[in-house]
């Protein structure tokens, strides 16, 4: 489990750094709803990523059928959480919907950039 924690810590800290930096730049550039939306989306993206890691031990040691059911339950639970920033963005003008959606995918984008461009060059 330590490796999972390390991975979560690594990507979550990069995501927070990117969100705060990009958010501040956008806010200073006068695009306040975009900046706030991106930070909000990224925060929930990190929560989702941490929750994926927390459900992994439940899936391991299960049969294929049970793994699928645990995955389905886990997905629906996490999506209720991911729905919160989307709901806020749709209902409140303080948060831009596109920026929130971009923020929700920030952890995935960081994983791709890290593995495809940074780590592959190091190898």
């Amino acid at each position: 489990m330590e490796t999972i924690r390390q991975t979560q810590k690594k990507y979550a800290s990069i995501a927070i750094f990117v969100a705060i930096t990009a958010g501040l730049v956008l806010i200073l550039a006068g695009l306040r709803p975009f900046g706030k939306g991106f930070i909000l989306g990224t925060l929930f993206s990190i929560i989702n990523f941490i929750l994926i890691g927390e459900t992994i031990p439940m899936k391991i040691g299960s049969t294929k059928k049970k793994s699928v059911w645990i995955s389905l339950g886990s997905i629906y639970f996490r999506y209720i959480i991911l729905a919160v920033p989307l709901f806020l963005a749709i209902k409140m003008e303080d948060f831009n919907l596109i920026a929130v959606v971009a923020g929700i995918f920030s952890v995935q984008l960081i994983i791709l950039v890290d593995n495809l461009f940074i780590q592959s060059k190091q190898r």
């Binding site: 994926i52 294929k64 995955s71 997905i75 991911l82 959606v101 791709l112 593995n115």
Partner: protein, 324 residues
């Protein structure tokens, strides 16, 4: 109970949202479950690699579920946006949008689970290649997501394009057809691309020296596998952007609905079939790199033949749209 247009708009939005996230999450769950099942096998084979296998599973699952997050975004837009009830056309538009995204996320979710599972398994077989396996898995999974992006684009166009100025009949059938063509059409390719990426991860683990040609072959195989999803997108774009003249006849509406269904269902088989063909090619290149030229030739011919049924569906769809 009063059933005015506004009520039906709400009903369509709620049903569309349910279909979007309900169908969309199913694909990701199957993919994630498959990955976890393979991780079980890998850990039992090499318990000392459990940490790395967990890590790969975590990263793989995070990327694999992107398609279902698209479905969540569409569901939330449908649930919480106030849509105008000026015209009845918004009712099929909202339904089509949800259906399109829901179906479109199934293939990508299932497909992206295959390379993640194979990467976990490969790590147990070839621990030294874990970095390369993760990279290949992520490339393969990312390509799998493109078909769901087509469905996302179609859903967003359906939601935000103004159809209210067009005649209700046959536009209702055109928008539903567009949703079916792009959504169902994305399933086969998403699964097929996953099969190719799975084979590439397994091949790299089996024969690390072939990593570069195997990855290239994977990308070529996935590119061809994706073409039927592009046909679906093409047909849906034609149906969304072409303005059809008003018609009281049910025949013209049924022709457009049929065109969408024809292309969507017609793309299912070729998408999976081409993926199976490319999976075989990638597998054998990993085992015998010297036969690459012949293997690529056979793969492309096999995929072309498999694709022909998708082309028949495309032709019939175009006939239904432009001739009938």
């Amino acid at each position: 109970m009063i059933l005015d247009i506004q009520t039906w708009v709400h009903v369509a939005a709620f049903v569309g949202a349910g279909l979007s996230i309900g169908l969309g999450a199913t694909g990701a769950a199957v993919g994630e479950g498959y990955t976890a099942a393979k991780a079980n096998f890998a850990i039992s084979r090499k318990p000392e690699m459990a940490g790395d296998i967990f890590k790969t599973m975590l990263v793989g699952q995070a990327v694999a579920e992107s398609a279902s997050i698209f479905a969540l975004v569409i569901a939330m837009i449908l649930l919480f946006t106030e849509f105008s009830a000026d015209s009845c056309i918004i009712i099929p538009v909202l339904l089509a949008s949800g259906l399109c995204m829901g179906f479109g996320a199934i293939g990508s979710g299932i497909g992206a689970g295959y390379p993640a599972g194979a990467a976990c398994e490969g790590m147990a077989r070839q621990p030294a290649m874990s970095g390369r396996l993760t990279t290949n898995m992520l490339i393969g999974s990312a390509v799998c997501q493109t078909t769901s992006i087509y469905a996302l684009v179609t859903s967003l166009i359906l939601i935000y394009l103004d159809f209210s100025v067009r005649p209700l009949s046959p536009t209702w059938a055109a928008v539903m057809g567009a949703g079916f063509a792009s959504g169902i059409g994305a399933i086969g390719s998403g699964i097929g691309e996953g099969l190719v990426a799975e084979s590439a991860c397994a091949g790299i683990a089996r024969q690390p020296s072939t990593a570069a040609p195997v990855t290239n072959m994977m990308l070529l195989g996935q590119a061809v596998t994706e073409t039927t999803a592009i046909y679906g997108l093409l047909v849906s774009f034609i149906m969304m952007f072409k303005v059809f003249p008003a018609s009281d006849s049910i025949a013209s509406s049924m022709a457009l609905l049929g065109a969408g269904l024809c292309m969507g269902i017609g793309a299912l088989g070729p998408g999976i079939g081409e993926g199976i063909t490319a999976r075989g090619a990638v597998k054998w290149i990993a085992r015998n790199e010297s036969s690459s030229a012949s293997t690529i030739r056979v793969m492309l011919v096999g995929q072309a033949v498999s694709e022909s049924t998708g082309i028949y569906a495309l032709v019939i769809s175009l006939v239904l749209i432009f001739v009938i």
